[in-house]
Symmetry: C2
Subunit: 329 residues, 2 copies
């Protein structure tokens, strides 16, 4: 099993990406890790002997966090991200991980790695936190801005396969993100998608409202990339605002500070629960190989988690299963 890691992407690249990769290599000796990036800069962060299952693949260029995705991917053919994508395309790696520019990674998935035959649009997938800590797999959260009903149908199928194959959930409940639970609610897109999902070989439970998602009312949440991204960022913004107001409250007086010190560890747990960055990397489903987006601020632990996620997905035959279901191959 070979996994390519974009060593140059992310806020803490290459230092923590390299360190995370080395820890992963030591923990799982059956994985061959390909560290893609500037060789001297990667070598700087290798302490002691390099594990025999790590190999550096030199790439001279880097795509920056603010670069225009399509232009960057087209022009920077020797960037660490594009080279890692090419390794997947050419079958030299089964998966790639990057903590770099999200738009550029989606473009790399689409243009360099390429789609699975029959998939019209890849989808960006996150596990949203739920009150019971199980999580909801939501897709698409921003890869495709103008979805058609058929795209939502493919998201539902891919999401069901992911939860079944990678996460071992039997018969996952699929919900359609909508403004009400009744069948004929929503916009033209959601009404047309509803009919397609009803007829699909999945466990479709109907429309779900975003206010109920965190209560874990479904296992796979299907949405268009625009509304899904709005939902994701609203969760982040609301939780962020609440925590900062809470912090203000907890430090606003002497007695509140005492109360706060009692609650500190409970509060940290709560904050962690709401942080979707803690819930692993975000796969781009629908491309012909595993592409996982790690958060920009990924540290050693996050890189290791990403490698673990890729390992499980490869072992569970995720991509071949999606290909078989979609294109009948």
């Amino acid at each position: 099993m070979r996994i390519a890691i974009d060593a140059m992407g992310g806020d803490h690249a290459p230092a923590l990406i390299v360190k995370g990769a080395l820890e992963a290599a030591r923990e799982w000796p059956d994985i061959q890790l390909l560290l893609v990036g500037d060789t001297p800069r990667i070598e700087e962060h290798i302490e002691g002997t390099m594990p025999s299952n790590v190999k550096i693949i030199h790439a001279s260029d880097v795509i920056g966090p603010d670069e225009e995705p399509v232009k960057a991917v087209r022009r920077k053919k020797d960037s660490s991200m594009v080279v890692a994508g090419r390794l997947v395309r050419e079958g030299q790696a089964e998966a790639m991980l990057s903590a770099g520019n999200t738009g550029a990674l989606m473009t790399t998935g689409l243009l360099v790695v390429g789609r699975i035959e029959g998939i019209e649009r890849p989808a960006l997938v996150y596990m949203l936190p739920t009150i019971d800590d199980v999580g909801v797999l939501a897709l698409d959260l921003g890869a495709n801005m103008d979805a058609k009903p058929e795209h939502l149908l493919q998201y539902a199928i891919m999401g069901s396969i992911y939860r079944t194959k990678v996460q071992g959930l039997k018969n996952p409940r699929v919900g359609l993100l909508n403004v009400g639970t009744e069948a004929m609610k929503g916009n033209e897109l959601s009404k047309a998608a509803y009919s397609l999902l009803e007829a699909a070989p999945i466990h479709f439970i109907g429309n779900v409202e975003s206010r109920d998602v965190l209560a874990h009312n479904c296992d796979v949440l299907v949405c268009d990339g625009f509304a899904g991204n709005i939902m994701l960022k609203t969760m982040e913004g609301t939780a962020g605002m609440l925590f900062s107001t809470l912090k203000e409250t907890l430090t606003s007086s002497f007695v509140n500070k005492i109360a706060a010190s009692i609650l500190r560890s409970s509060m940290q747990k709560l904050r962690k629960k709401m942080d979707y960055k803690e819930h692993g990397g975000a796969p781009l489903l629908g491309v012909n190989g595993l592409v996982i987006k790690c958060h920009g601020s990924s540290d050693i632990k996050a890189v290791k988690n990403g490698v673990r996620q890729a390992k499980i997905a490869i072992e569970s035959q995720l991509i071949p299963s999606i290909a078989a279901e979609i294109s009948g191959k």
Copy 2:
């Protein structure tokens, strides 16, 4: 100034609606309040002498909370909601308030009260809570599911007029809800709307992300009804989940309970801040008369707040200002 109140709509109707109306009538003797509904059932809740500025308008029927909006409004011509709408249409009232079925009220606005000439789609407006307690006026939050770029332009103009005329804000900053702040971000709708907003006679500040809305990065937030409704319900769901998890934390051990008792009043303030129901009624802008949706669980205070809101909007010439700006009348 005459304001019609649907006495039969809402969880606490007619009791608390009638009581709220009577309190409002006593506080503002210059308003004539028309209580619309079943006369005997309204009279039951009138204690003492009825203020001289309150009049009961009999309506024999009621639209229930779960009725299909368009059917209900078309069939129940003698329902309290439709009769109140007719009072506005016929110029016997300048405004109507209802805590009843939201969909039916939007339909009443559209079909009974009627649109302002030149307005293509009315928009449902809420004040979203912000960290600085000022609030963001957001529209449309669910009146129109399939918005066109021109609708978003009209929302921006109506929202700007509302904040200027009713809330006394000079040159309000208008933001477009989007998945990123760069100009060319988003879906086809938001890209086309961006160009229209740039050329409009408003203070357009560009795209805003939902995670920043609560930090009060704009004064008017323009969005399509589908994404806007998703955003609103995500805020509600995220805050609700956090508060319930917080409550669990605060009661999970003896020392936590002690800390919680210290924090009780601060926590209640925080909860109130996040509750958009506290921020007054939701006007349906674009109809030819003032239509205000009060929350279903409206109590005496909420009804009084709704009447105050209507009074200010009427005094500030909201509807004529919108009509003048849109149709050049």
